[in-house]
């Protein structure tokens, strides 16, 4: 039956370009291919009689919708079990009708015995109980986020998904380590959205958010197969689809760590203004602070050095380096009039040279 189910997938796979492409350039590609091959081979031996046709079917199915997380296999087990019964019971019921209509002459007299009803009720209950328990076990596992999971914040913003990594780096691309649990924290947006990665068989529905920066949902996943997969929102939306998809890259062993090092900060030997500019772009400042005068969640940096800054409590501060550094490390200390105290602290997350660079850069903006 598993093979029938996979054949369903494979039929679609035949008409579709493979969803999984090789990973990062370089040596990673070979490693990923090897991982995939192992995965496919394992699936083939488990799922189908060892014929060439079945193996090809399984391979095609794996390419179309690979089992790329620890949840994928167990969730697919639920799919296969229910599908098996859907096909089997439909055929039985339709078959009963057809056979009874074709049967010549009347059947036996008398009423249906109560025990038949009782046993069909017991059988049906057992069946749905198996469906329920099989699913609930995976569900329970999904609710308990392992300690030490890599935290990544997910938000749906104006231009699409953004992912914030532990070091504050913000990207439109999702990068994930292999064989390590990842904790997603979802920020509520102005419209409901889902975050679905079919290759992981997981989808999280995030309701409309209340506060800026408020976390609406947490979820976790552990990728087990390197590759590039599509993440998307499936909730109906008026936006163009391009704003509702993102690429999720599962790096092969060691690949994520290398990538993380690369993005962890700009080279500290840059001139201060340039260093500050890179920090401004890389550290997520752009989400709330513009340099063109537009007002977002936080005040704009345009003309920062040439004006006085009026605070909520009525006092006024000068645009000094100390004020900028304080606002980065302890954002709640001074709140500009007309804004809310919502900025997270960057204390300990930026090198002091970066803070100095940011001050230089912000003051340089006309």
């Amino acid at each position: 039956m598993t093979s029938t189910f996979l054949m369903l997938q494979a039929a679609a796979a035949a008409a579709q370009a493979p969803a999984v492409q090789s990973v990062d350039a370089q040596a990673a590609a070979a490693q990923a291919a090897a991982a995939q091959a192992t995965q496919v081979a394992t699936a083939a031996t488990q799922a189908a009689p060892a014929t060439d046709a079945a193996a090809a079917t399984v391979q095609a199915a794996a390419e179309l919708l690979p089992k790329a997380s620890t949840f994928a296999s167990s969730i697919d087990d639920s799919f296969v079990l229910i599908l098996w019964f859907a096909v089997f019971l439909s055929i039985v019921v339709a078959g009963c009708f057809v056979l009874l209509v074709m049967r010549p002459g009347p059947g036996g007299a008398g009423a249906t015995s109560r025990s038949l009803f009782r046993w069909s009720a017991v059988g049906a209950f057992a069946l749905v109980a198996v469906f329920f328990v099989q699913g609930a076990r995976v569900w329970a596992d999904m609710q308990v986020i392992p300690r030490g999971a890599l935290p990544i914040r997910v938000a749906l913003e104006e231009k699409g998904f953004t992912f914030t990594y532990p070091n504050g780096y913000v990207s439109n691309e999702l990068h994930l380590p292999i064989d390590r649990p990842v904790k997603f924290s979802f920020l509520g947006a102005s419209e409901p959205y889902t975050f679905s990665i079919p290759a992981f068989r997981t989808q999280v529905a995030v309701p409309v958010g209340v506060r800026a920066g408020g976390i609406a949902k947490d979820a976790w996943v552990q990728p087990i197969l390197a590759g590039e997969y599509e993440a998307r929102s499936t909730t109906p939306s008026l936006r163009p689809r391009a704003e509702l998809v993102a690429t999720a890259t599962v790096h092969p062993e060691g690949g994520y760590e290398k990538w993380y090092q690369d993005i962890s900060g700009p080279p500290l030997d840059l001139p201060p203004v340039e260093l500050g500019q890179r920090s401004y772009q890389m550290r997520g400042c752009t989400q709330c602070h513009t340099i063109d005068g537009a007002k977002l969640v936080g005040p704009t940096f345009k003309g920062f050095a040439t004006r006085e800054h009026k605070l909520k409590d009525g006092s006024v501060v000068e645009p000094t380096d100390a004020y900028i550094a304080e606002s980065i490390n302890d954002p709640q200390a001074k709140i500009v009039e007309g804004f809310e105290p919502v900025m997270p602290s960057f204390k300990g997350r930026l090198h002091e040279l970066e803070v100095a660079g940011l001050a230089a850069y912000i003051k340089s903006l006309q």
């Binding site: 369903l8 009874l100 209509v101 059947g107 109560r114 749905v128 079919p198 529905a205 998809v245």
Partner: protein
């Protein structure tokens, strides 16, 4: 009260067995009203099906993304509104129920003939409001008015809501009338234990309709108040979930009432065409009672994983899965009924078999969406859309066709042409499977619902769905044409009799 309902004494009871069709839209006679419902719902069904074919073919149309997306939203909104509110909900109680219920209960009329007429008239007025909504600024919110679209949309939302208010009042009235008819028919020598299965199941459907429809009207009133600035009940975070809780608190039992009414008709057709007219076994009555109770508690499955309470998700999932148990008992009951009697291979029985099989397929397709991890994965993909269509198109409309083919010879005095009828039924079954399995498969592969964008590049499944839509359309067209021809046959027979 029940004594005044014995046959022939009620002032509005029609002497004409075909039921005075000439006054259909103003007569309070239940048979005339059944016929009037058949005309109204038949027209709505044709509109809904043409829109469905339009939806299926839309991917083949032009490639102007923005216009296409707007048109598509308008198309699926119209299709959903027409099919849910003007066809699936009122059809079985309105057509088959009106015709058969008093007869099965042994009374002359529905309990409230005047309300019965009012229900039809409000349905027509509601349909007219939908027409305005479609032609003024075409409604584009989807039939389920999901937030935030329903708040932000600049289309004729008010007309759509007004239409639903009328249709909702019609449904609640219809439901209350059915319950009153069942209840008042008991007594004076007619015990509850004599109540046939049809009375139990349709009575349960009526009860559900009467009880939950007001919830829908309250939800939509709140939505309207929010849109017009009179309220901000849907302004807070999570408002989308709050609205969906309201909406599905109505919609889940409302779909349950469709299923209950379908079960009434299938049981009736299976009994009559298996030469074992159905009383009601204790098991069947218990099953109907269980389905009724379960249907009230299942709305949470439509907000699965969106609220804050995991316990609520787990409970909803368990309760909806449990609804499968009474359904299985009923199916066993029907199969055993056929096994004990002598089944005639009629078109009506063919549709009853189609409907039953579709409930098995659709019920298990829903199980995918209800089991917790698969359900959370499939939410908002095209999978639930496909599963729902198995239930509504295969199950509910299949039962409608079974009922209509069962009643048609009695309306027109000549038999339905069985050969064509069975061919149409076969096309219907094949078309249904072919049209909706691809929706499920593509949903599993990650295709979002309600979008023209082909996210899963699966040309082949799209083509299956298009082929299925065409076959299904063919099946319905053949069936309607065959029924129409039977009417003409009856007219010819009548002319012959008069000529002699």
């Amino acid at each position: 009260m029940s004594t005044s309902h014995s046959i022939g004494t009620h002032p509005t009871a029609s002497a004409n067995p075909r039921g005075g069709r000439e006054l259909a839209f103003f007569s309070q006679d239940h048979r005339s009203l059944a016929w009037a419902y058949a005309i109204v719902i038949g027209l709505a069904l044709i509109v809904g099906i043409v829109l469905a074919v339009g939806l299926a073919l839309q991917p083949l149309a032009g490639r102007d993304a923005a216009t296409d997306a707007t048109n598509y939203r308008q198309l699926y909104t119209m299709h959903g509104l027409v099919m849910v509110f003007l066809v699936a909900l009122p059809a079985l109680p309105g057509i088959v129920g009106n015709w058969l219920l008093p007869e099965k209960l042994g009374v002359a009329e529905m309990a409230w003939p005047r309300l019965n007429l009012l229900a039809l008239q409000m349905l027509v007025i509601g349909g007219a409001c939908f027409l305005v909504a479609f032609f003024a600024t075409p409604l584009d919110t989807g039939w389920s008015f999901g937030l935030p679209f329903a708040l932000e949309s600049t289309s004729s939302v008010a007309w759509g809501l007004l239409g639903i208010v009328f249709v909702g009042a019609s449904l609640a009235t219809q439901g209350a009338n059915i319950v009153a008819t069942v209840v008042t028919s008991r007594g004076a020598g007619r015990c509850w234990s004599d109540l046939p299965f049809f009375g139990w199941a349709l009575g349960a459907a009526g009860l559900v309709q009467a009880l939950v429809t007001p919830v829908l009207l309250v939800a939509l009133a709140l939505l309207f108040a929010q849109r017009s600035g009179a309220s901000d009940v849907f302004s807070a975070g999570g408002a989308d979930v709050a609205f969906d809780q309201w909406f599905w608190f109505w919609a889940h039992p409302a779909f349950g009432s469709m299923v209950l009414a379908s079960l009434a008709v299938i049981g009736e057709v299976v009994g009559e065409h298996g030469d074992r007219p159905k009383g009601a076994s204790a098991a069947a009555v218990l099953s109907i009672a269980a389905l009724t109770v379960f249907s009230f508690g299942g709305w949470g499955i439509h907000v699965l994983g969106r609220g804050d309470s995991q316990a609520f998700d787990v409970a909803s999932s368990g309760l909806v899965l449990a609804s499968g148990v009474p359904l299985v008992v009923l199916i066993v009951d029907w199969v055993m009924t056929l096994a004990r009697g002598e089944a005639r291979g009629t078109t009506a029985l063919g549709y009853a078999a189609t409907s039953t099989t579709a409930f098995v397929l659709g019920g298990l397709a829903c199980a995918f969406c209800v089991v917790l991890p698969t359900g959370a994965y499939l939410a908002d993909t095209s999978f639930p859309t496909g599963a729902m269509h198995f239930l509504v198109v295969g199950g509910v409309l299949g039962a409608l066709f079974a009922g209509v083919h069962h009643l048609w010879p009695r309306w027109f005095g000549v038999p339905v042409r069985e050969g064509w009828g069975k061919f149409a039924c076969f096309l219907y079954f094949v078309g249904m499977v072919l049209a909706f399995v691809p929706l499920c498969v593509r949903g599993y592969l990650g295709q979002p619902r309600r979008t023209l964008d082909v996210v899963v590049a699966d040309e082949r499944w799209s083509w299956y769905a298009i082929a299925g839509a065409i076959v299904l359309f063919g099946g319905v067209t053949f069936a309607l044409w065959n029924l129409l021809r039977t009417m003409l046959d009856s007219r010819a027979a009548l002319a012959r009799t008069e000529g002699e």
